[in-house]
C-alpha cells in the first residue's frame, strides 16, 4: 500500500470516529462513573499514596463497586509530590479520561497547582487530604469540596489543647510551604499565650533540624509545636529526642504521627501531644468497619490519609445516588454533595458554606500494644463542631 493511500485511509477513519465518540453524551444517566484519583505513588512518600489507594479500593468493595447502582471505575495517577507533575496528571484525567470526579491530593502545593483546570471544566474536585487556606477563603469554588479538613482546623484544636495544659510560651517550627504556613497560623488562632519563636524551614529539602533545635533550647519555651508530615516527622522527632529536650520541653504536633511514621518513631512518639479529627479507635460503626476490614486485608492500620480517602469515595457515592446518576445536572450534584448524606468515619460531619467540613478535634496519644507494636488512641474531645476561620471570606 502506498503511503498516501494509507494516510487518506487513516484520516477517513479518524473522521468517521468523531461523531461516534460524541454520541453517549445525549444519554440521561451515566452508564459508568469515572473518578480520577491523584496521589503520591512513587518516591519516599509512596506509602501514603498506597494507603489512600487501599482505602479507596476498600470503599469500592464495601459499595460493591457501584454508586447508586452504576459501575464505578477509578483511574489512579501519581503526582510524584511535585506540583507540575500533579497539574499534568490532572489535565490528563480531564482531557483523556474525561472523568466525572477528580479526587485525592496529599500536598497543598500540588492541589493549588492542579485545582484550576478541574473547576474551570466544571468537574467536581474532592480533596482527600490537602485543605489549603486560599481554597477555604477567597478562592473557594462551587466545584471544590474537602472530604478532609481545612489546614487550620486541626492546629486550632492543638492550640486549644495548649491552653488547657496551661502552656504560656510556645515555640513553633514548621516547613515553609502552603500547608506549613496554614498549620502555624492555625495554632496561633486559638493559642492564648505568647509565641516566643517561630522557624519556617526549607521544604522539602531540609532534613536536619539541629540549628532550629539549638534555638529552641536557647529560647526556653514551655512547649514546642511542630507540623512535619511523613518522613520529616520521623526526622524531627528523632533529632528532638537526641537533643535531650523532650523531657524538659513537651512536644505538641499535628499530622506528624500516623500509622506509617509510627513504625519508625516508636518510643519517640510516646509522651507527646497531638490533636486530630480522626483516630482508628473512634467508636462509630462506619469507622470500625473501615478499620477492621482494612487491618484484615492489609495486615496494617490505616492512616488518616486513608480514612479521608474512604470518606471521599462515600461522599461521591452519596452524590451519585442523590442525583440518580444524572451527573450532567451540576447544580443537583452540588446540592447532593453539600448535603453530605453519608456516614463519615469521623462521626458527625457537615459542610460549612465554603464546602469544608465542620467536625470535632480529639486529643490523641501513642501507646504500646506490645513490645514492638504501637498504636494511636483517643484521649478526649478537645473541641466540638469546629469551623475553619476562612469560611466568612468565602463568597460563593
Amino acid at each position: 500500500m502506498k503511503v498516501s493511500t494509507l494516510l487518506s485511509l487513516t484520516s477517513a477513519l479518524a473522521l468517521a470516529a468523531v461523531p461516534f465518540v460524541a454520541q453517549p453524551a445525549a444519554a440521561q444517566a451515566n452508564k459508568k462513573i469515572k473518578i480520577g484519583f491523584v496521589t503520591t505513588l512513587s518516591g519516599p512518600n509512596a506509602a501514603y499514596g498506597v494507603d489512600m489507594k487501599n482505602s479507596v479500593e476498600l470503599a469500592l468493595e464495601h459499595m460493591g463497586r457501584k454508586m447508586g447502582g452504576i459501575p464505578v471505575e477509578v483511574v489512579y495517577e501519581d503526582d510524584e509530590q511535585k506540583p507540575e507533575v500533579g497539574k499534568q496528571k490532572t489535565d490528563k484525567l480531564l482531557q483523556r479520561d474525561k472523568v466525572d470526579f477528580v479526587a485525592g491530593y496529599i500536598w497543598s502545593n500540588v492541589l493549588l497547582a492542579s485545582y484550576k483546570p478541574v473547576v474551570d471544566s466544571k468537574t467536581f474536585l474532592i480533596s482527600a487530604n490537602a485543605g489549603p487556606s486560599p481554597l477555604a477563603g477567597e478562592q473557594c469554588n462551587p466545584y471544590f469540596f474537602a472530604a478532609s479538613w481545612a489546614n487550620e482546623q486541626n492546629p486550632m484544636g492543638v492550640g486549644e489543647l495548649l491552653n488547657q495544659k496551661g502552656v504560656k510560651k510556645l515555640y513553633i517550627v514548621a516547613p515553609n510551604y502552603a500547608a506549613g504556613q496554614d498549620m502555624a497560623n492555625g495554632v496561633k488562632a486559638t493559642f492564648k499565650g505568647q509565641v516566643v519563636g517561630q522557624d519556617m524551614t526549607k521544604w522539602p529539602d531540609q532534613l536536619d533540624f539541629s540549628a532550629e533545635i539549638s534555638k529552641i533550647r536557647a529560647a526556653k519555651p514551655d512547649a514546642v509545636y511542630v507540623f512535619y508530615p511523613s518522613r520529616w516527622g520521623v526526622q524531627f522527632y528523632t533529632q528532638y529526642s537526641q537533643s535531650g529536650l523532650k523531657k524538659d520541653i513537651p512536644l505538641y504536633s499535628v499530622f506528624t504521627i500516623d500509622a506509617v511514621t509510627l513504625k519508625l518513631q516508636k518510643d519517640l512518639a510516646l509522651d507527646t501531644y497531638f490533636g486530630l479529627f480522626w483516630a482508628p479507635d473512634l467508636p462509630y460503626a462506619t469507622n470500625q468497619k473501615f478499620v477492621t476490614d482494612y487491618k484484615k486485608k492489609h495486615k496494617d492500620t490505616p492512616t488518616f490519609y486513608g480514612a479521608q480517602s474512604y470518606d471521599a469515595m462515600n461522599l461521591i457515592a452519596s452524590a451519585v445516588a442523590g442525583t440518580k446518576g444524572n451527573l450532567k445536572d451540576k447544580d443537583a450534584v452540588r446540592k447532593a454533595l453539600e448535603a453530605a448524606k453519608f456516614d463519615s468515619v469521623r462521626g458527625p460531619f457537615k459542610f460549612n458554606t465554603n464546602h469544608f467540613p465542620i467536625h470535632a478535634i480529639y486529643q490523641q496519644e501513642v501507646y504500646k500494644v506490645s513490645d514492638s507494636e504501637y498504636d494511636i488512641r483517643t484521649i478526649s474531645k478537645i473541641i466540638d463542631n469546629l469551623q475553619d476561620p476562612n469560611a466568612p471570606k468565602c463568597k460563593m
Binding site: S42, G43, P44, A46, A47, V50, I172, N176, G180, Q181, A184, Q198, D199, M200, T201, K202, D205, L207, D208, S210, A211, E212, S214, K215, R217, A218, R231, V234, Q235, T238, Q239, S241, Q242, S243, G244, V260, K263, L264, K266
Partner: protein, 306 residues
C-alpha cells in the same frame, strides 16, 4: 549568646563533616577516573540501608556499621565493573545519563527490597543521649560522634593520600592518568580500588546520617547537589579542598538558618523571613562558589597538572 553561637558552629561543623564524607568519595572518583558519578548519592543511600538491615540483624549499631562498610565498597565495585567501566572513554554527558539511570534503578530497587516506608537505625542508648561539651552545653552524643568520625576520616585520608604508595598513585592518577598507565601501573585495578574506596566513604556518610535523618528512598539525591558544589569549590580530585569547602558550606548554611530569620524577623513576618533567610543562606553557598570560580577557576586546591 556566645554559647548558642558555639553550639550553632558545632551544628555547622557536623553537617559539613557529613558532607565531606560524601564529597571525598565523589572527588576521588571524579578527579582520578574523570567519571561524573551522579549515582554516588545512591551508594550513600544503599550504605544507610545496609547499616539499617545489619543493625537490625546483629542488634548492634557498631557491628551493623562495620558490616555495612565492606558491603558498600563491594556494591560500588560491582557497579564499577558491571556498569561504569565501559563509560571511562565516553563523553561526560553519556556518564551523566548512565549514572542518572542508576539513581532511578537504586531508588526503585530500595523500594522493592526494603519497602516504601523507610527504615530507622537503632542506636545504643548511650548514643541517644547527650554529652556535656562545656558546662551548660549538652550536645547530642551521636552528632558529636559524627564530628569525631568525620575528623578521624579526614586524618585517615590525609595519611592515605600523602604517605602511602596507593596515595601516591591516587595523586599521580589525578594529575595525569595516561602517564600512570604508561608507567606500567594496572590502571584498571587502581580505578576499581578507588571506586570501592569512594563507595565505602559514601556508605559511611549514609550510615552516619541514617540515625539522624532516617533511612529513606532518594535520601542521597538532594545532598548530592551540595556535594558537587563542594568538589567544585575544593578543586576536583582534592581531598583537602573537599574538607575545607564542606566545612565552610556546613557552617555558612547553619549560621544562615540560625541567625538570619531572627534578624529579618524584626521587620518581616515569620514565613517571609524564613523564605528570605533560606534564599540568602543557600545563595551564600553559591556566591562562595562563584567567587572561588572567578578567583581560582580550578577550585581552591586543584590537583597539579590539571
Amino acid at each position: 549568646m556566645l554559647l548558642l553561637l558555639f553550639e550553632q558552629f558545632l551544628n555547622g561543623l557536623q553537617i559539613g563533616l557529613l558532607l565531606f564524607l560524601l564529597a571525598a568519595g565523589l572527588t576521588l572518583v571524579f578527579g582520578i577516573m574523570d567519571l561524573v558519578n551522579l549515582a554516588h548519592g545512591s551508594l550513600y543511600m544503599m550504605g544507610a540501608y545496609f547499616a539499617a538491615v545489619f543493625t537490625q540483624w546483629t542488634g548492634n549499631f557498631f557491628l551493623g556499621a562495620l558490616l555495612a562498610l565492606p558491603a558498600g565498597a563491594l556494591l560500588g565495585i560491582i557497579v564499577e565493573v558491571v556498569a561504569l567501566r565501559t563509560l571511562y572513554t565516553r563523553d561526560h554527558l553519556d556518564q551523566v545519563l548512565a549514572t542518572f539511570g542508576l539513581i532511578l534503578f537504586f531508588n526503585e530497587f530500595a523500594r522493592v527490597v526494603f519497602g516504601a516506608g523507610g527504615m530507622a537505625i537503632e542506636l545504643p542508648s548511650w548514643l541517644e543521649g547527650q554529652v556535656e561539651i562545656m558546662p551548660g552545653l549538652p550536645y547530642p552524643s551521636f552528632r558529636f560522634l559524627i564530628i569525631v568520625v568525620g575528623l578521624g576520616c579526614a586524618g585517615f585520608l590525609y595519611l592515605l593520600v600523602q604517605k602511602t604508595r596507593l596515595g601516591m598513585l591516587i595523586r599521580a592518577g589525578a594529575s595525569n592518568r595516561e602517564m600512570v598507565g604508561a608507567l606500567g601501573i594496572d590502571i584498571k585495578l587502581l580505578f576499581t580500588l578507588v571506586f570501592g574506596l569512594g563507595s565505602a566513604l559514601a556508605a559511611l556518610a549514609g550510615l552516619m546520617s541514617g540515625p539522624i535523618t532516617t533511612v529513606q528512598i532518594g535520601m542521597g539525591d538532594n545532598i548530592l547537589i551540595l556535594a558537587l558544589v563542594v568538589i567544585v569549590i575544593g578543586g576536583i580530585g582534592s581531598i583537602r579542598g573537599a574538607f575545607i569547602a564542606a566545612v565552610a558550606i556546613g557552617v555558612i548554611d547553619t549560621m544562615g538558618r540560625a541567625f538570619l530569620p531572627n534578624m529579618l524577623g524584626s521587620f518581616l513576618n515569620p514565613s517571609d523571613a524564613g523564605t528570605l533567610a533560606q534564599a540568602l543562606s543557600s545563595m551564600l553557598i553559591y556566591i562562595l562558589m562563584a567567587a572561588v570560580l572567578v578567583l581560582r577557576p580550578a577550585g581552591l586546591f586543584p590537583a597539579p597538572g590539571r
